[in-house]
């Protein structure tokens, strides 16, 4: 069991969004948070990550480390991709530049390692952010719309990376508006059912 959520309710600015959310995520599972725009997926995910706990009530129990990638990419536009990953604020291990270049090559960014991130295209920026998935050894990933801005090849890469991760005993919670990407192995949590 990597994450246990019981009786969680979410509020945003005096408005109750969700209530009575219960689920547990075990190793090897992929969970997709579903629901229409504005239902509270991002709010819930930020709450699970502990970034914003103010409107949250209920119990959230983590077992082990996790990695959170939000809507925004947490990249400094004036730094290069390598520097961005090397000095990333939430890394708890230090990757060497060669490891980082490796990771960047695996997200098809070979040749862009040392250019300022601000001069990359939208999808390339997203790829730089996703390269953290190769550098972290956290067990649980919390990803907010990770497929945004990626082309077909990028989406396929991410899918295979997720398969690999859960195959190795990790777990992934992600939000997305697209249809199920991981077939039968995927658990869906439709937040529409918990909306108040």
């Amino acid at each position: 069991m990597l994450l246990e959520v019981s009786q969680v309710a979410v509020e945003r600015g005096d408005r109750r969004l969700l209530s009575g959310i219960d689920f547990r995520v075990s190793a090897g599972e992929v969970w997709q948070l579903l629901g229409p725009n504005g239902v509270g997926k991002t709010s819930l995910l930020r709450g699970l990550a502990g970034v914003a706990r103010l409107g949250l009530s209920g119990e959230i129990r983590h077992a082990g480390s996790f990695l959170y990638l939000g809507h925004s990419s947490s990249l400094k536009h004036s730094l290069s991709a390598v520097d961005n990953l090397r000095w990333h604020p939430a890394c708890d291990v230090i990757a060497s530049p060669s490891q980082i270049c490796d990771a960047l090559a695996r997200v098809s960014l070979a040749g862009y390692e040392h250019r300022p991130v601000g001069s990359l295209s939208a999808g390339q920026k997203r790829r730089v952010a996703l390269a953290r998935l190769l550098l972290s050894d956290a067990a649980l990933w919390l990803l907010d719309e990770p497929f945004t801005a990626l082309d077909t090849a990028g989406c396929e890469w991410l899918e295979s990376r997720v398969h690999e991760h859960v195959g190795g005993g990790g777990a992934v919670i992600f939000t997305s508006h697209q249809a199920s990407r991981f077939g039968a192995s995927q658990h869906n949590l439709d937040l529409g059912r918990y909306a108040v």
Binding site: G13, D14, L54, G55
Partner: protein
């Protein structure tokens, strides 16, 4: 002790209690204010050096004293809010800030008016005056920060942090401004405090100080009640209250 804190932290109990309190504190305050003002303005003798202008003291000093004390009330509420996360402390903080700001402004304004006949200038950069001005800014900062946040719980936390840091700073400001003045301002300006104040002038002053403390209490309580009625409009106890009243 704990029961008291818990009771104070419970909105229904506080609402009932403050209602009763305000009901007799408000008339008392008005009586005290009128009596003190009457006594100080019309009955007390003039000061032998400043003449009648000294009568401003009966509002100036009470306002200044209560304004200073108010900051500590706010800081206390801030500490309680940060440590125990009691909603009532948030509301207290929010209620005190504007009252403190107004009282500080009154002290400044009356001081400035008093300065014209006494010193010949509306404004001088005296140590005490300057530190009062900075106190006003501290209060206004809290008010503005509260307004700036959409989420009021977050606003209260932010204000609590600010208030606590400000509390550490108040003695430092007070002292440093004092040093600043004593070093470089020739002693041309002196408060009249050196000669012991005559009792015929002191008693009305004491009445007025008490009255201003009451004003502080009443306005803070009223502000808190207004806030409570709004934030708890959905809750059962208030609906019952409204229905039963």
């Amino acid at each position: 002790m704990w029961t008291i804190i818990h009771k104070m932290g419970s909105p229904p109990w506080f609402f009932r209690f403050s209602g009763a309190l305000v009901r007799w504190l408000l008339p008392l305050t008005i009586c005290l204010l009128l009596a003190g003002a009457f006594w100080g303005l019309l009955v007390a003798p003039p000061d032998f050096r400043q003449g009648n202008s000294y009568r401003i003291i009966y509002i100036h000093v009470p306002a200044a004293v209560v304004a200073l004390a108010g900051y500590y009330v706010m800081a206390l509420a801030g500490a309680v809010s940060l440590i125990w996360r009691i909603k009532m402390a948030d509301i207290t903080m929010r209620a005190v800030a504007p009252v403190g700001a107004v009282l500080t402004a009154i002290a400044l304004l009356t001081g400035a008016i008093w300065g014209k006949p006494t010193w010949g200038a509306w404004w001088v950069w005296d140590a005490r005056i300057t530190s009062m001005l900075i106190l006003l800014f501290l209060y206004l900062g809290v008010v503005a920060l509260f307004e700036a946040y959409e989420n009021k719980t977050a606003a209260a936390r932010a204000c609590a942090v600010l208030t606590l840091v400000g509390t550490v700073n108040i003695p430092i400001i007070y002292k440093s401004v004092d040093w600043w003045y004593s070093l470089h301002q020739p002693a041309s300006i002196k408060f009249t405090g050196e000669s012991a104040i005559d009792s015929s002038m002191l008693y009305p002053l004491l009445v007025m100080i008490l009255a201003f403390y009451c004003v502080f209490a009443v306005t803070v309580l009223l502000n808190m009640r207004a806030e409570l009625v709004w934030t708890h409009r959905e809750s059962g106890w208030l609906k019952q209250w409204v229905g039963g009243a």
